[in-house]
Symmetry: C2
Amino acid sequence: MSIYFAPYKDMLFVMRELAGLDKVSALPGFEDATPDTVEVILDEAGKFATEVLAPINASGDEEGARWADKAVTMPKGFKEAYQQFVEAGWNGVACNPEHGGQGLPKLVAAAVQETWKSSNMAFSLCPLLTLGAIEALELYGSPEQKDMYLPNMIQGTWTGTMNLTEPQAGSDLAAVRTRAVPQADGTYRVFGQKIFITYGDHDMAENIVHLVLARLPDAPEGVKGISLFVVPKFMVNADGSLGERNDAYCVSIEHKLGIHASPTCVMAFGDNGGAKGFLVGKENEGLKYMFVMMNAARYAVGLEGLAIGERAYQKAVAYARERVQGRAIEGSPAPVAIVRHPDIRRMLMVMRSSVEAMRGLAYTVAAAHDAAVRHPDPEERKRNQAFVDLMIPVVKGWLTETGNEIAYLGVQVHGGMGFVEETGAAQFMRDARITTIYEGTTGIQANDLIGRKIAREGGATLKAVIGLIHGTLAEVQKQSGADFAAIGSALGRGVAAITEAGTYIATQYGQDVRAVAVGAVPFLRLMGIVCGGWQMARAALVAQEKIAAGDTDPFYPAKIATARFFADHVMAAASGLAQVVTQGGASALALHEEMF
Amino acid sequence: MSIYFAPYKDMLFVMRELAGLDKVSALPGFEDATPDTVEVILDEAGKFATEVLAPINASGDEEGARWADKAVTMPKGFKEAYQQFVEAGWNGVACNPEHGGQGLPKLVAAAVQETWKSSNMAFSLCPLLTLGAIEALELYGSPEQKDMYLPNMIQGTWTGTMNLTEPQAGSDLAAVRTRAVPQADGTYRVFGQKIFITYGDHDMAENIVHLVLARLPDAPEGVKGISLFVVPKFMVNADGSLGERNDAYCVSIEHKLGIHASPTCVMAFGDNGGAKGFLVGKENEGLKYMFVMMNAARYAVGLEGLAIGERAYQKAVAYARERVQGRAIEGSPAPVAIVRHPDIRRMLMVMRSSVEAMRGLAYTVAAAHDAAVRHPDPEERKRNQAFVDLMIPVVKGWLTETGNEIAYLGVQVHGGMGFVEETGAAQFMRDARITTIYEGTTGIQANDLIGRKIAREGGATLKAVIGLIHGTLAEVQKQSGADFAAIGSALGRGVAAITEAGTYIATQYGQDVRAVAVGAVPFLRLMGIVCGGWQMARAALVAQEKIAAGDTDPFYPAKIATARFFADHVMAAASGLAQVVTQGGASALALHEEMF
C-alpha cells in the first residue's frame, strides 16, 4: 500500500499564485494567516493525515462501523485517531474564535481538509457534519444555544449531525414528516425517523448534537412548514455537564458500497415518549437555514472529489513506477515499468492534470468566499459572493464526477490487481461513488447552476466570469511557443463553448425549461473543464513568469506541461458538450414515459 | 429488486435487421437456425436467465465463493443452477455437433449468452472459460484429447479453465515461468503457480480441465518458448471414468471488488510431485494457440459490457418509474416519478441508446464471424474475417468501458439508494469493473487496434468500414425530417473523425509510435461511438421503412428517437476525440518519468 503524502508544493502554489493567499491574509481578521504560518499549518496537517488518518483508512474500510443495541462501534483505531484530532485542535481551524475556533480563512481550511479527505474520507465525514452543525448554530442559534453547544463542538469533544432525509423525502425536503410537538416549558418533543444520517451515532465523542428538520403541528404544507431543532444525544445540564440520555437512537446502519467506516444511520426520534428538542431560530424557517448551510456542505463534498482524486493518483503513480510488465512499444531490451507505456502515461496525466485543475478551481472559490465575507468593500463582497454562488454547484458537481473518473482510472492503471480489494485502489472508487449523490446529486447541482445561478439573473455573473477568462486568454496569447498556443486554442474554444451554451440557457430557460434542463449536467461538466482549464492556464502563466525570472525549479515546466495536457486532452470535449446543451433537449424527451 | 427480462424485441430486431439472421441461416451448416427456431431458443434462454440465473445473482454476490482446504464451495444455489444449465443443454449451443454441440451460429450464441451475462455475470464466467478451453482443444487437441475431453466439456459436466497469468506475467505472457518436465511415457509434469484463474476450482462439475501455459526445459526465452498443456483436476481413465486426483490445487481465492460468486483462484501445480499434463498441439506454440482463442474470449467479455449495461438500464428504469420525488421542473400539482425529471431522462437515454448501439455492433460482428467461418466464397470469408479482426478490440474495449459508464449511471439514477448494497445497482458497477481489465485491458485492446489491425495493413480494412458507413450515411441523407438530419449530421462528423484519426494513425505509426499510442484508447472510444452510431443509423433506416410500410408498432418510432439521441448526445464527442488522437501525443509524453 502506497503512503499518502500531502501535495504541499502544489497546494502552496495554488494558494499563493492562483487563489491569492496574500490578499486573503490582508482581509480584516485574517492577519495571522501569513504565508509562513500557513506553510507551517499545512505541514502539520499533512503529517497528521499521513501518520494518523491514512494508516486506518483501509482497515476501517475492511472492518466497517458496526451496530448493536442501538449504538455504533467504530472500527479499530478511529476513536484514538479522533482523540488526537481533537487534541491537536484540527476541528476548529476555520471556526469562530469567539467560541474557541482558530478563525483561519476558508482557503487555509480547504487545504487542511483536503488532507483529511485524501487520507481517510470516511473519518473526515465526522468533522464535515460537525462543521455544518456548527455553522447552523453560529448563524441561527440563540446566544444560550451557542454557549451551550459551540465550545464543545468546535473543540470536537461533541460532534454534530444533520437530520434531513426521510424515506419519502430525499432530494425533496418538502415531503418531511417528522413532527415536533410544543411542550409547556417551551421545548419540543420530536417524533419521526430519519435515514442516511452520517455519524448519527458513534463512540468517538462524549455527546452528539443532532440538528433535525421537523414540522410543527400547525405548520403549512411543503417547504414552508419545516423548522429546525437541536436534539442532543445526551441532555446538557445548566453547568455544562451531561445529563440524561435523550430519546434519539440509531436503530440500524446501512450496508454500503463505500465509506464503510462512516456510520450511515437510521435515526429514530421519539420511540420512547419523544426526543427533547429545542427550536433553532424561527418556526417554519428551517429549510432556509438548511439552504444557507448547504453551500458550505456542497463545497466540502466537492473537495472530496479533489481529495480522492489526489489519493488515487498518488497510488497509481507509485504502482506504475514499480510494476514492470511488457516491453516498450518502441522496443526495449527488457521489460519496463508500466509508467513507460503511453496509455498508462495518458491515464496518469488525465488524473494529474484533472487534480491540479480541480485544486485550482476549489481553492480559488475558497478565497472568493473569504473575500465575500471579509472584504471591506461591499461591492467586492457582493462580486465575490456572486462568483462563489455560481461556482458552488460546479465545485460540487464537477469535482465529484471527476474524482470518480480518476478513481476509476486508478483501478485501471493497477490492472488485475486493481480489482483485488487488498490493493486499495478499489476502495477509492467505492468511497468516491457517494460524492456525486449526497448533499444534492449532480443533477440537482446542475439544475441549481442553470436555474438559480444563471437563468434567474440573465447570466450576469457567468458573463463576468467569461470576461475574466478572456482576460487570461489574452495573456496566454501574448506568450510564444507550442504549449501556450495549444493552451490558448483550447481556452478559446472553451470560453466560446460556455458563452454559446450559457447564452442558450439564459435565453431559453423561460421558453422551454425541460429542454434546457436536459443539458444541465453536460453544461455543468463543460463549466468544470473550462473553469478548470482557466485555472491551469493561469498556473502556466505564473510558471512561465518564474522561468523567465530564472527560477530553475522543475515544478514550473511541469506545470506548463500539465496545463498543456489538460488543454489537449480534457478541454477537447468542450465543443461537443456545448453542442449537447444547445441541441440535445428534444431527443432526450422524445420518448413517452411508457416507452421505457 | 427488479427482475431481469431478456430484451427479446430488440435482440430479434438487431439479429434480423442489422446482423442479417436470414443470411446467417443460409450459410452451410446453419440451415436449422431459421428465424422461427431462433425465436424459440431465445425465448427459452430468456426464461432460463429470469427464472434460474437472476434469482441467485445478488445472493451469490453477498455470500461469495468460499475457499477452505484447497477447495472452493460455490454460493447457495449455484450448483443446482449449473445442473439445470447442463441438463437444458445450454453449454453447447454453439459447439461442434461432432462432439455433442448444437452447432448454432455465433450470432445466436451471442444473444443467448447475453442473457446469462445480464442475469448473473459471475455464473456466466464458468461457461465462458469452458467454451474457451473447448475451442482450444477443438483447434489444437489431438483426436484422442478431443474424444477424451470434448463430449463432457461441451455437455458441461466438466468445465474448463485457462491458466495464463502468473504474478510477474500479467499482460506480458513472455514472462511465464511455469515449467513442464517431459516424462518417459510422453506425458509431462507441470510445476508452477498461476493467479487470477477464473473458476480454477468449484463444486459444480465432476471434473475441471485446466489448460496451462508452461515452458519446456529447453524452451527458448520469451513468447516463443511457451507451450500449452491440458491438466485435468481428476485424471481420466481409458474408459472415460475419473481416476486419481491430479496435483493441481486451488490454494487461495481473491477478495475482489465484484463478481464475488466467481472464484478467482491461485492455482498451485505440482506442489506434491508434479501435476500430470499432456501437450496440446506442438511444443513452443502455446502463445499462438492462446492468441487464436483470445478473439473469442475478448468478444465474450465485450458482450459482458453490453449485458451488464442492459441489466443496469432495466433496473434504473424500474426505479425511475416507481420512485416519486420532487415536483416537475416546469411545475406540477404533486411530486412526480423521477422518470419525469429531464436529467433522469437524459441518463436513461444515454443508458438505453448505448445498450442498443452496443448490441447492434456486437451482433453484427458475430454475424460477420459466422460468415468468416462458413461462407462458401473465400473472398467473403476473408472480407468478413478482416472486419471481425478490426472490430474485436472495439467490441472488447468500447463495450466494456461503456458498460461501466452505464452501471455508474445506474447507481446515480437510484440516488442515495444506489449506494446501499441491498438495492443491487452497486453490484452491477462492481461486477462491471473487471471487464475493462481481464482478457487484455482497454489499453491493450487499443494498441492491438491501432497497431496490428490498422497500421500493419495501412488502414485497408478501416477504409472498407469507412466506405460502408458512407453508404449508410447516403441512405440517411435521403430521408427527410429533423431526426434523420441530426443522425446524418452526427454520422457525417463521426465518419470524418475516424477518417482523420485513422489516417493519422496509419501514416504516423511508423514515424512516432509513442505519440500515436497515446491516442490509442481515445481512438478506440471514437471507433466505438461512430460504429455504434452507424448501427443505430442503420436501425433508424429500417424503422423508417417499417413505418412507411404502415407498421404501427411503437418500437419503430422509439428506435428512431433513440438513434437520434445517440447522435445528439453520444456521438457529439467524436470530433473532440479525433483532436485528442491527432494532437494529444506530445503533451502526454512531455513529463519525464521522474516528474510523476
